[in-house]
């Protein structure tokens, strides 16, 4: 997709000269800049220090900031999850790396019962400036326990914010906003994006949490998605354009708080919506989006809201099986064609 367009859409600015950097480099810049700006920001988690993060996001930070602010932890997920609560309510701003989203299950009590509820149940006084980072998503042969898309687990829990960027520009700006946020933010990075380049300008900018972004304008159908599937949706839109179907692509970027307004505005125009994510379709976040479209935009719909997601099975290892298990450019394009026919 065209990252410059994302910048233009997000900030309403005129595009400037391109600086193409990798998604993981954009994330590193976000953390690095925030650590420089605010001495209470620190990083800890599995392999963040000497290794530099399993996808090199925190590379070089240990040398730059030292072992007090960049801490390799044991493989103790409950400790990793809960220590952020204690550190944040007493005045620090932890940026925590769980490595894989799949591993967060071991820390679920600390995230769901401790971090998410701390502020509310103690009377709304505490700030919990925590960012929990984790890689998620399939497509690179990591099999069942390293490839899930579990974001719906977390959007279901009040007290958490959930972010899942689709490109390097958004990743950097969203992560900086997440670090500055006084709430618990889960920041999910699709692992197939780490080595994708995007246009990221030099210098300071933020992308606010809770603001959806129209990544491609179109008149005939709306695709709503987030993370890597936005890239697939944009490619599908190009295919469909040659068939005479003009597709609008909306990137939610933040799943909670959800900015549904641009989606409804789009549906008013296109009268058709396809919700796409890589998570298992059944019980996935797409169900929430589809329900809201129908609640808020029913009168504008010419066809039922369609959903695409992964099959109801663990992610398989063998490449043909894995690739068949979640939406692809082709299945998205086909989904839009069916939507246009009212299938």
């Amino acid at each position: 997709m065209d990252a410059t367009k994302a910048r233009t859409a997000a900030n309403g600015e005129t595009p400037v000269e391109q600086r193409l950097i990798f998604f993981n480099q954009a994330l590193r810049e976000a953390i690095d800049e925030e650590m420089t700006r605010d001495p209470t920001v620190f990083v800890y988690g599995e392999e963040v220090g000497v290794w530099g993060g399993s996808y090199n996001v925190t590379q070089g930070l240990l040398d730059k900031y030292g072992p007090l602010r960049v801490i390799d932890t044991p493989i103790s997920e409950a400790l990793i999850g809960g220590a952020a609560v204690g550190a944040s309510i007493t005045g620090s701003r932890p940026v925590v790396d769980f490595m894989y989203q799949d591993f967060m299950g071991i820390a679920m009590d600390q995230i769901v019962n401790q971090a998410a509820k701390n502020r509310y149940m103690f009377g709304g006084k505490n700030a919990l400036p925590i960012v929990y980072r984790a890689a998620f998503g399939a497509g690179i042969g990591n099999a069942a326990q390293h490839t899930q898309s579990l974001e719906a687990w977390f959007t279901h829990v009040p007290g958490l914010k959930v972010v899942a960027p689709s490109n390097a520009y958004d990743a950097k700006g969203l992560l900086k906003s997440a670090i500055r946020d006084d709430n618990v933010v889960l920041f999910f990075e699709h692992k197939a994006l780490y080595r994708e380049r995007g246009d990221v300008p030099e210098g300071e900018y933020l992308v606010p949490l809770g603001v959806s972004d129209v990544k491609r304008a179109g008149a005939n159908a709306t695709i709503v998605s987030y993370a890597r599937q936005v890239q697939f949706a944009l490619q599908a839109a190009e295919q469909l354009a040659s068939e005479g179907i003009d597709v609008e692509v909306i990137d939610l970027r933040t799943l909670y708080p959800l900015d549904i307004d641009p989606v409804i505005e789009s549906v008013k125009k296109t009268n058709r919506a396809l919700v796409v994510h890589e998570a298992v379709r059944f019980g996935g976040f797409g169900g929430e989006v589809a329900a809201q479209i129908q609640e808020l935009g029913f009168d504008y719909l010419d066809a039922p809201v369609k959903r695409l997601g992964a099959v109801h099975a663990p992610v398989p290892f063998a490449e043909p099986l894995e690739m068949a298990s979640f939406p692809s450019v082709e299945s998205i394009a086909q989904g839009v064609r069916e939507l246009m026919q009212g299938i």
């Binding site: 801490i71 400790l79 550190a87 309510i89 709304g124 505490n126």
Partner: protein, 341 residues
Amino acid sequence: MAARKPKAAGKKARGASKKSKLPGKEMLEWMYRTMVRIRRFEEAADRAFQAARMRGALHFYIGEEASGTGVCAALTDSDYITSTHRGHGHCIAKGGRLDLMMAELFGKATGYCGGKGGSMHIADLDLGNLGANGIVGGGLPIATGAALGSKLRDDDNVTVCFFGDGAAPNGTFHESINFGALHDLPIVYVCENNQWGMGTHVSDTNAGPGIVTRADSYGIPGVMVDGNDVFDVFAKTTAAVKRARAGKGPSLLVCETYRHRGHTVHDQAAYRDQADVDEWMARDPIERFRKTVTTAKAMSKKKLEAIDAEVLQEVEAAVEFAASSPFPQLDTLLQGVYTDV
């Protein structure tokens, strides 16, 4: 009426009496008042519960007062604690206000958490009380994180992590102490072994030669404490806190104590052996304190009775405050989930 605690040990000498080796007069009075405040508060809460003036669940700390009191006596106001589902005593010992606590137990708008938390979820950051916890073992990582924060911020605070024998077999126990020891964090892990995890005896939940020996695995001091003797708790916590504050890392204290009541207000504790109950009741921490200080002539009966009377008044006022306070307005239902949503 929460009398101000004298300066904590480890920072300044407290003028301990040379004769009796007991703490100074002010500290003695604070200790006694604190233990009695805990007991009378909970007895009043029990009466209110039985009279259907409050709902939910109450986990009584009665019988364990010396443990929380002796530990918090060794802390400064800015030191941190994390507490448990059986947390009233910790909150009071850290300086908590009985009126705000009782109002929270009643679910009133004037309570510590505006009625959002209840008995199991009271915190007061201004007192360094990072909060009670409804999840057994849930506080260990949080306390360890607070101590990590203190190290990063160099704020000279020590964190005390209270937990029970029921949490010692939990993964968070090992994950937390391992990390605390790795980084020499300023923290004291205080296991209050009250012998029972709900209705299961500690001997049926913890393998090996004793919880305290697990300290050896992490190369930190493990200290057995008579949890019904406030002076033993105070002395051993003072040493552990001093060590932690000096940057020498955590200790594990195991306070042997006893839960006089059942697991909750609903539990008659029929699973206990009466001889065992009688033996522990004879070691009641408040009675022991009274005997020790009057025998040593460190406090007069008259003074003890005066404190008793003052605490009763404070508790009655707390109940009155709670009962006469309004319930939270319904428009607070969604307040406090986030700072900005």
